[in-house]
Amino acid sequence: MFPAPLAFEWDNVTVACFLSSYLVALGFEAAQLLKQHSASHWLALGMAVAGLTAQSIYLIVRSRAAGMPPLLSSTHDWLLVLAWLIVLLYVFVELLDRRVALGLFVMPIVLILVGLSRFVSADPNPNLVRLRGLGMFHASVLVLGMVGVLTSFLMSVMYLLQHRRLKTRRGETEGLRLLSLAKLSRINWWGIVLAVPLLTLGMATGVWLSYLSASTDSPVGLLRWQFVVSGIVWLTMGALFLWLLTGRAHSGRIVAWRTMCACGFLLVTLLLLQLASGGVHGTG
């Protein structure tokens, strides 16, 4: 008689699993500020990969249970997909250049997104269920646009820190190596240039979805306050986009400041909106 093989219960993976993994990863990243050691780096990366795996399992389990892709399942899942993409980007960059202290900037955002996901609706959006194809496209472009916004936000914060260090002529802090101003500026620019069209597309498909929902049992009106606030935020990003495209001679620091403010405003507003309404689409 052989003992029965140990069965891994995928359902046992909870938000707390990957939240704590990311928290430990952040701890290891922070430890490098005190004493730079390659072990800390690899442990941080290992914890991030462990968290990413757990989060993937969690999203797959939820997606199967709801019978829908994670992006359509609920606002809760949408936020987790956003966090998942950010962690994936972080792991990719860290594998390319392990000297960059990206985790210190990325992990707090990831922790906020994952933490916030616990306070928003975990129920599938009924309208998106009915208009599955367009709904999937709407959610995808919005999440990718948000990745661009988050990237630009992080790059502009790093740019301002790097610029300040260089202007005040301070040497590099151990464990806080940042990218060059030129690279930060380039990534920041591309982040905005890609994010704004994606967000615009997301807004446009949102309006189209609203129009289509008029003929369904639960129509979603465009004059709901969540949509109005989202529109205002989108206009802010659009203004930043036009400013960036029309004046390439702006100083890098000014670009970084405006990007940080605009993206920060967008992130805070949208996240608070999610929190206040239980999801942008809300319940009414």
């Binding site: 202007k167 040497g171 101003l181 380039r186 001679a249 100083s251 620091r253």
Partner: protein, 426 residues
């Protein structure tokens, strides 16, 4: 022997002080040597003036004629027309073994801001050569500086101090330049000045793959020579403003006695380029760029020698083990040098003692051979060898004692005793 050094270096003083006391050209240094000879005629002098240090080494036979720290400070004050209280507290004096050790540390680049940099060796050598040309050196400083260069070579051969980032340019570009630009392939570097520092910086930047090199120098001949050596272009001094505007990286290493680029001049030069990032490395002492150039706009990143201090300190900590090995070599060489020098002072007495005893033995042998005329030549030779051995064996204990005593300094008491005991005269 009495050796002293009065130093004002990157450990003791800011660049603002050092640039006031610097001797930026050969002409100024030769004038300084003339003034020093007139002021301290009993001393030998060597002045080491680099961007990180201004040091005056003096040596003389008698301690009474040695210039004090205050004497040297007064000389610097009068020569540079700088009030004494503006820098006196930034001076440091070392004497005797400490002074010798200090020079060995300087030459071996253990005392340098950029640990292990090679340029200091040639700077020390040039300082010594110039002292010779200025008739300011002498036997003591000759021995001291020649040994310093030998110690430097030994430290480089026996430690790994010269590995890694070992030039000011490498530290500046590594810590600041690479944080501004992704790479240098499409960048234009403007080098103002054509001295050794400019050459070393260009050598490093060329290794970084810099796109275009422009050399701007007052002396056309030197500028063209440098530009040619690095496949760069030479631009006459009159075109400096135009080049300032075009450059992405500016390295300035002139020996000018005051800033050559003011904020106003640089603002005018940048008017057509906007706030594009420009990395300025001002390696001049005195500085070539006015300090307010740094605050012109967001794109100007200006660094001088002192701004690299923190990075260099980190570099030093990372190589603490090599520094320790270098210091052990320096300690050993200092002791050996001083012993040899002190022992050299006992030379005349030893020679007289040896000559005196050999004279006695020769007289006695002649008397003996007169009494024994039938001795065969081989018998005479055997007796001569025996007497020679006896004299050498008798001389051995006092000579060893003198050698041992020389470790602590010239054994004046012992020398006096030998002189009196054996009637060797003054």
């Amino acid at each position: 022997m009495n050796v002293q050094v009065v130093t004002c270096n990157h450990h003791t003083a800011d660049l603002t002080v050092r640039e006031q006391l610097a001797f930026p050209s050969e002409e100024v240094l030769l004038r300084a040597y003339a003034a020093l000879r007139a002021r301290f005629p009993a001393s030998e002098h060597v002045l080491v003036s680099t961007c990180n240090r201004i040091e005056l080494y003096t040596a003389q036979e008698e301690s009474v004629s040695a210039p004090t720290q205050l004497d040297v400070a007064r000389f610097l004050s009068e020569f540079h027309n700088v009030p004494l209280d503006a820098f006196f507290n930034d001076l440091l004096e070392r004497t005797g073994a400490d002074a010798v050790r200090h020079l060995f540390e300087v030459a071996a680049s253990v005392d340098s801001m950029v640990l292990g940099e090679s340029q200091i060796v040639s700077q020390v050598k040039e300082a010594y050569d110039l002292a010779r040309r200025g008739n300011a050196n002498g036997p003591l400083t000759n021995a001291l500086f020649q040994r310093a260069l030998a110690v430097s070579a030994r430290v480089r051969a026996e430690t790994r101090l010269s590995e890694g980032r070992v030039s000011i340019a490498s530290v500046a570009v590594g810590d600041f330049g690479r944080s501004i630009f992704e790479h240098f392939r499409d960048k234009c570097v403007l080098v103002i000045g054509a001295g050794e520092m400019a050459e070393e910086t260009l050598r490093y930047l060329q290794g970084e793959g810099i796109g275009r090199i422009v050399v701007c120098n007052r002396s056309r001949e030197r500028g063209e020579k440098l530009a040619l050596a690095f496949q760069g272009e030479f631009r006459p001094w009159e075109q400096l403003d135009m080049q300032l505007a075009d450059a992405d990286v500016i390295v300035s290493t002139t020996g000018a006695s005051e800033p050559i680029v003011s904020a106003e001049r640089f603002r005018f030069a940048r008017a057509k380029t906007g706030e594009k990032p420009v990395f300025i490395l001002d390696l001049g002492a005195p500085r070539d760029f006015a300090s307010d150039v740094a605050s012109l706009d967001d794109g100007v990143f200006l660094y001088n020698i002192d701004d690299l201090e923190a990075t260099c300190e980190r570099n030093r900590k990372a190589r603490a083990a090599e520094v320790e090995r270098a210091e052990r070599i320096i300690e050993d060489e200092t002791a050996r040098f001083l012993q040899e020098l002190h022992h050299k002072a006992t030379g005349p007495i030893i020679q007289r003692l040896r000559a005196h005893w050999h004279d006695i033995s020769r007289d006695e042998l002649e008397q003996l051979f007169r009494k024994l005329p039938d001795l065969a030549p081989e018998q005479r030779a055997a007796i001569e060898r025996s007497i020679e051995r006896i004299v050498n064996k008798l001389l051995h204990p006092p000579l060893e004692t003198l050698r041992a005593e020389s470790k602590e300094g010239t054994p004046h008491g012992l020398l006096d005793a030998i002189r009196r005991l054996f009637h060797l005269g003054e």
